[in-house]
């Protein structure tokens, strides 16, 4: 098992022939991901990285039977690409693009809510089920197969956490970067639910950040619904108020969204909250020995 993606994922790359798309699609192919084609408007009919290029997602889906789309389209066109994928009936849309205007995402999120599609991201590293499918920009070799489910708002901190977990002789069932923007497609709760049901996953690690209240909502959900052990780390304990810390979502407004509030809510929900980011792997190993 694992969640959302695996051997059966047939992946389409939107923004396939661009610089980022070419580099990362190449990396995914090398990893063994089943990329069946790509979309770049105006380049339909060409072959890129040995795969067919299409002008539209609808056409690409019809011809290849793709069920996942990986998006590298530039920021001001990315929301349109997300909606195009949803309109074409793609089941899972993974949007890597960072810097998408918030107002675009407000509309895109409302639009896909009416469709059958699930969005991961934007502004995220993507999703990986080790040894099956890498659909994103993460360094694949860090993620060894195992039983820890990983959900993270951050990119590189996800790699850091996975690396620590692997160094404890554990591994990852599926790792998902949900993105650090104010509006994201899939949040902790939906993924916690999937990991709870997934037989292969024995523990869940969640990495949060300051800003917003998704971690607080997750804490309430965990308290009521999650029986598997959850380990959490919240980045930004020392971040000053009112400052945007790189991620558009990582800003503390007033007293809302502080690391302290989130850590307390998670502790109250029975989550093993890690104070130092260097101890994520260690604590996960300890929890699993209990």
């Amino acid at each position: 098992m694992s969640i959302l993606v695996g051997k059966n994922s047939k992946v389409l790359v939107q923004g396939f022939t661009g610089k980022e798309g070419t580099f990362h699609a190449g990396q995914c192919l090398e990893y063994g991901t089943n990329i069946v084609g790509g979309v770049t408007p105006g380049k339909g009919g060409q072959i890129h990285l040995g795969k067919p290029v299409f002008n539209t997602v609808a056409e690409a889906r019809k011809e290849t039977g793709a069920n996942v789309s990986l998006i590298f389209v530039p920021s001001v066109f990315a929301a349109d690409a997300v909606m195009e994928a949803a309109d074409a009936g793609i089941e899972l849309i993974v949007c890597i693009t960072e810097g998408i205007p918030v107002s675009d995402m407000v509309v895109a999120k409302k639009y896909i809510a009416e469709k059958e599609s699930r969005l991961i991201g934007p502004n995220c590293p993507g999703i990986i089920t080790p040894e099956e499918a890498k659909i994103g920009i993460m360094p694949g070799f860090v993620f060894k197969k195992g039983s820890v489910g990983l959900i993270s708002k951050s990119g590189t901190l996800t790699y850091e956490a996975a690396n620590q977990i692997v160094k404890q002789n554990l591994g990852i069932s599926t790792a998902i970067g949900i993105g650090g923007d104010p509006i994201i497609g899939t949040t902790y709760i939906e993924l916690l639910e999937m990991f709870e049901k997934d037989d292969e996953t024995t523990a869940i690690v969640m990495i949060g950040e300051i800003g917003g209240d998704l971690e607080i909502q997750a804490a309430e959900y965990i308290k009521k619904n999650v029986t598997k052990p959850v380990v959490a780390f919240i980045a930004g304990q020392t971040a000053p108020k009112g400052k945007r810390m790189g991620h558009a979502g990582a800003i503390i407004a007033g007293s809302k969204g502080t690391a302290k509030e989130k850590m307390e809510a998670l502790k109250f929900a029975g989550v093993f909250v890690v104070d130092s980011p260097a101890n994520i792997g260690k604590v996960t190993a300890e929890v699993l020995k209990k």
């Binding site: 409302k110 901190l157 790699y159």
Partner: protein, 391 residues
């Protein structure tokens, strides 16, 4: 990005939102000309800085004669203004906005912001205008009326009715209020604002609403499609180091410690600050080199960090995903050459091409480079180096 009140007023005016007539000036001479041009018998002199709380700090003054305008301008222009939002260091007032005074029957609050929970813009109104809305929200939450606006349908009459009747506006004021609110939503959407605050929204004796004060903030991600907004950027209002970092695709925030940090990714960068504190040190900055780090941007990052004279050591913490470690290693070496960095640099490179990077650093055989093998090791070494406990 934030703009000044006079700029926000001009945007609103372009959308047909009533605002007081005013002229922005940066000298006393211009101020007196403005008084003549505006006419009338009463004027308001308003300090133009981005921080709120100007009124309480003496940055907004009513003048009953040109002589009083002169007096106020002399007292405000070119002087330091300290409000609860500027911090104790305050801000130098470089421009003042001279407006015609208006009569005030009642003051309201009207604002717009993104509600992250519902993922929709929300318009907020209150009958308690002219005061801090946060205070109203905590002391009298029943006096705050909110309507969420689904972007797929836009701002509708029912939204306006919900707000207007919530404010207990008399029936004859509803039409004017509806039009005002609809225009505000239009500005928010079309200009990609992330915040609009009209505080106070003034009801005049003639029964018309006017935006006495205006604050607008914009979504940085959307500025690429609004060159007219970008042109309003006031570099004096921004930290020069943060601004410069932005030019190179770096995200930098200065803090007060002595351990400089250079990290890839916002989450890892925040975690690096956290762990430095955890190990008994104080981070000097947040610096995310982003996904497109090159030797040039990394070198620039070093220069920006080193401009802060408090920095005693630098912790380079890179987990390669998009950023390849060999690129960073070359950047570090180039930066040391160009900036002649003398202080200890603790380097932890992990991920894509980490071995190649280690080789590059080793071959350079530089004394002040201290290799680290994981997050804990690196942060401990950086904190010790800053304290002079690591040679």
């Amino acid at each position: 990005m934030n703009i000044h009140e006079y700029q926000a007023q001009s945007i609103l005016a372009n959308y047909g939102v009533p605002v007081p007539s005013g002229i922005v000036v940066d000298s006393l001479k211009e101020a007196m000309t403005a008084v003549t041009e505006l006419g009338g018998r009463q004027w308001v002199v308003k300090a133009q800085i981005h921080a709120g709380g100007r009124g309480k700090a003496g940055g907004v003054k009513l003048a009953n004669s040109p002589a009083e305008v002169e007096e106020h301008v002399k007292r405000i222009l070119g002087k330091k203004l300290v409000t609860h939002q500027t911090g104790p260091e305050g801000k130098i007032v470089k421009k003042v906005y001279i407006t015609k005074a208006i009569d005030i029957k009642k003051e309201y609050y009207l604002g717009m912001v993104l509600d992250r929970t519902s993922e929709m813009p929300v318009m907020i109104a209150s009958s308690e205008g002219g005061v801090e809305i946060e205070e109203v929200a905590s002391s009298a939450p029943e006096k705050i009326i909110k309507v969420r606006i689904d972007p797929l349908i836009g701002f509708r009459s029912f939204h306006a009715r919900k707000l207007g009747y919530g404010l207990k506006l008399p029936k004859e004021q509803m039409k004017d209020f509806s039009q005002f609110a609809a225009k505000l939503y239009k500005v928010y959407r079309e200009k990609d604002a992330n915040l609009i605050e009209i505080n106070p929204l003034v009801l005049q004796e003639n029964g018309k609403f006017i935006a006495l004060d205006a604050k607008i903030g914009f979504d940085d991600n959307a500025l690429i499609r609004h060159p007219e907004i970008l042109a309003m950027r006031d570099p004096d209002e921004e930290d020069p180091a943060e601004l410069e970092a932005g030019h190179y695709g770096l995200s930098y925030v200065k803090l007060n410690g002595n351990v400089g940090c250079m990290v890839n990714g916002a989450g890892l960068a925040m975690s690096t600050m956290d762990i430095i504190k955890h190990e008994g040190g104080e981070p000097a900055n947040f610096l995310d080199v982003g996904g497109t780090a090159t030797a040039e941007t990394v070198a620039k990052g070093f220069q920006i960090i080193l401009r802060d004279k408090n920095v005693k050591s630098i912790f380079v913490n890179i987990f390669g995903g998009i950023v390849r470690c060999d690129r960073i290693a070359n950047g570090i070496l180039e930066a040391i050459k160009t900036t002649k960095v003398k202080i200890p640099i603790v380097v932890r490179l992990d991920g894509t091409n980490a071995e190649k990077a280690a080789q590059i650093l080793q071959n350079a055989s530089l004394e002040n480079i201290i290799p680290a093998f994981n997050l804990a090791d690196g942060s401990q070494k950086a904190v010790k180096a800053a304290k002079g406990e690591l040679s």
